[in-house]
Symmetry: C2
């Protein structure tokens, strides 16, 4: 599709650029300092979890059943926290671990374990290249996706291979064809619900195909980061199928390692993280992680489960979060539709949950838009960060609307709209020159 | 030295064995269930940290200076916590990280980093063997020492090499000779104050020699786990020299990576952990750990520093701990002296702090003593656990007196004394047969 600027005659385009540049100068003069860079809740949103802080007072019972949470022991996590993990991950409690404050760290450590030690008797991923003519180990990366995931595998020396998203998850025709024929593809990153940044949820068919597809690598592992499993904006939520329902008892039982954390449920960075997998994978992951950990912070586990004892309680709490998030997502939709609707300059997603909106401008625009926004005082996630390596068409920008107030967000989106228009107009002029 | 049983004539020895066996049967009949296995404080001792739980209530200011501790960010730790880390580690705050709840996990991850990536441009330890005729990477392990340290290096495939302890730290003549000539020795585990399990503190001379010795490996790293830095029993404490005073500004500046945690200051497993090293090493460790962590649990950091704002506050708090630990250590000394003094059957250490007493029985006795204690209802740390690999003379038992009450501890020590006597007597008889 052509942009409105590509359709203008030369004079009109020159006038449009002049007008837009004047607007940009006006905005620069206002000295804005707005941040749409990272998926952080606003301070007021964080405050809804403050009642949790009163639960473990100095006279509280610090036991969970017969587990003393105030002393060493119970590496796997306290029983109530494993029960909650079971509900959130969709596996029995015995197939869960509750560890630390960050699912990202668990993903990092478990991926590093498979790299160094292999999994369930397979050769270490680190040895693959030397044993297979220098062929690099690869990971499939649905893109646009989460930059920190791609960083973990890239840091290990794994080649990140982008796979297109379709609106109902990764393009499974592409995925199936690749994994069926290439044994160097050892795994895949997935954020299956309200995916970062597109906000799409994998369809039942996508989930089933991921669970049942044939892979050339017998030790193929899906890192199933269900970070936004309860992060709905509306009562009518996206439904995600339970991937373990399709792997349980099959030859693919060990394929999926699932992660959830409470970082965006209670206090960011100070939550508890859950892992779920097959009994065999949980056993090997436990044996590995136990080398470095006597037991995790069970006091924080206890604080969490007393505040949020089960999935129903979590869902009620998330409705309070939604009251902060919904007007922000709706402001994004409104401002983008008003500012760019019908211009041919952009498309964007319309998530019903999660933390992000994925925005695409004209080819070759994203880096220039981000730089121009920065000049106007609006910080965006670095353009291209959503792609492993380089965004091939330089179109994608991740919008993180959660942190600013609605007013600040609207101001920031006006800046983004202006930047996209000017860059689109300049691109049209350059194309002609 | 001979045991009293070796000095007996055959009849006396047979009678002694008969009498001891009868006592063992009596004890078995009592159905004891006592635990001297791990360095856990007693529940009453843990309770002295309960006032900390009231500090971060729902209406608390969750800022540390201008850092919002309730949201993402500040990977390196909050300023007040880094200031406390600086005091406890003996390096400037900029050379500290405050991360997670466990120093063991940081040791595990950082050792794994050096294994996979090397340090400051040196080749990865993982590559050493292939490039040097299959020679294994080695770590020096002062022994008896801490089993979980040895587990971390063993798990990486590093060969743990025991080094004798002298009463003022590892035998530095042995250490210096080994590291000077063998480039495959990449590092060393140290618990420099109230060492686990001997309770000895490295002398100033030992610390200086460790800091200044010549090593064949340019990337030699000392993992300086100062776990018991403030864990004194008496007002007159062991003094530990600050090893960084000897490395700062020298060619060995990057040698030492130091660790401290509050696990045995506040709540075991739910504390905060500190790392200190040279600016270059802190930078590379940060870059690595950031791959898997946005930020650590800053709420727990804030809770800790509001409760224990500086080293003086920590020392005052530790005096309360000492009131629980001192009678237990004194009970160990009293019971062992009463039961085994002058028998020639055992020697043991007399720590002025820490969590353990190191006990040595006759050659070939430790496993049998531990098994016999277990039959009598007393659980000890598995015999030999204090050694990397096997305890060569099978003499060493780690006594962990902290968890039981003084009465339970005395009962457990009576059992230990009885077991040592019977095993010593049986060994004397077997020697004669």
């Amino acid at each position: 599709m052509q942009t409105m600027y590509q359709q203008m005659d030369a004079d009109a385009l020159a006038q449009a650029i002049e007008a837009l540049r004047a607007q940009v100068e006006e905005v620069k003069a206002r000295g804005l300092a707005l941040d749409m860079a990272r998926g952080k809740p606003s301070p007021q949103q964080v405050d809804i979890s403050r009642p949790m802080l009163d639960i473990l007072s100095s006279d509280a019972d610090l036991h969970d059943g017969n587990v003393d949470c105030s002393n060493y022991g119970f590496f796997e996590g306290i029983p109530s926290a494993r029960a909650l993990a079971s509900e959130m991950l969709g596996v029995p409690a015995e197939q869960t671990l509750v560890l630390g404050s960050s699912s990202l760290l668990l993903e990092h450590d478990i991926c590093g374990q498979f790299w160094r030690c292999g999994s369930l008797g397979s050769e270490p991923w680190a040895d693959y290249s030397a044993k297979h003519n220098g062929e690099t180990v690869k990971f499939l990366c649905p893109a646009p996706g989460y930059d920190r995931h791609f960083g973990i595998t890239a840091d290990l020396g794994i080649e990140n291979v982008p796979v297109p998203m379709t609106g109902e998850g990764p393009d499974m025709d592409v995925v199936e064809a690749m994994v069926a024929s290439d044994a160097s593809i050892k795994g895949m990153w997935c954020v299956p619900k309200y995916s970062n940044p597109t906000g799409e949820t994998y369809s039942e068919k996508t989930v089933r195909r991921l669970a049942t597809m044939k892979t050339a690598a017998p030790d193929f592992r899906i890192f199933w980061d269900n970070a936004y499993c309860v992060h709905d904006l509306y009562d009518e939520t996206d439904d995600l199928a339970n991937i373990f329902d399709y792997t349980r008892g099959t030859e693919n039982e060990d394929r999926v390692v699932a992660f959830v954390s409470t970082s965006k449920i209670t206090f960011p960075g100070s939550g508890v993280a859950f892992v779920g997998a097959s009994p065999a994978v949980i056993a090997e992951v436990s044996a590995f992680l136990k080398m470095g950990l006597i037991s995790a912070d069970k006091m924080n586990q206890l604080r969490h489960v007393r505040f949020l004892p089960n999935l129903d309680a979590v869902r009620s709490h998330m409705k309070k979060h939604a009251e902060f998030m919904r007007p922000r997502f709706e402001a994004v939709e409104r401002k983008l539709a008003e500012g760019l609707g019908g211009t041919g300059c952009a498309t964007w997603t319309h998530p019903r949950g999660g933390y992000f909106v994925s925005f695409d401008g004209p080819d070759g625009s994203a880096k220039r838009v981000a730089a121009l926004c920065a000049q106007m005082g609006v910080k965006l996630t670095p353009a291209g960060a959503t792609w492993p390596g380089e965004d091939p068409r330089d179109t994608n920008i991740r919008i993180a609307p959660s942190y600013p107030s609605v007013e600040e967000l609207e101001a920031a989106l006006d800046v983004l709209v202006l930047a996209v228009k000017l860059v689109a107009a300049e691109l049209a002029a350059e194309e002609r020159a």
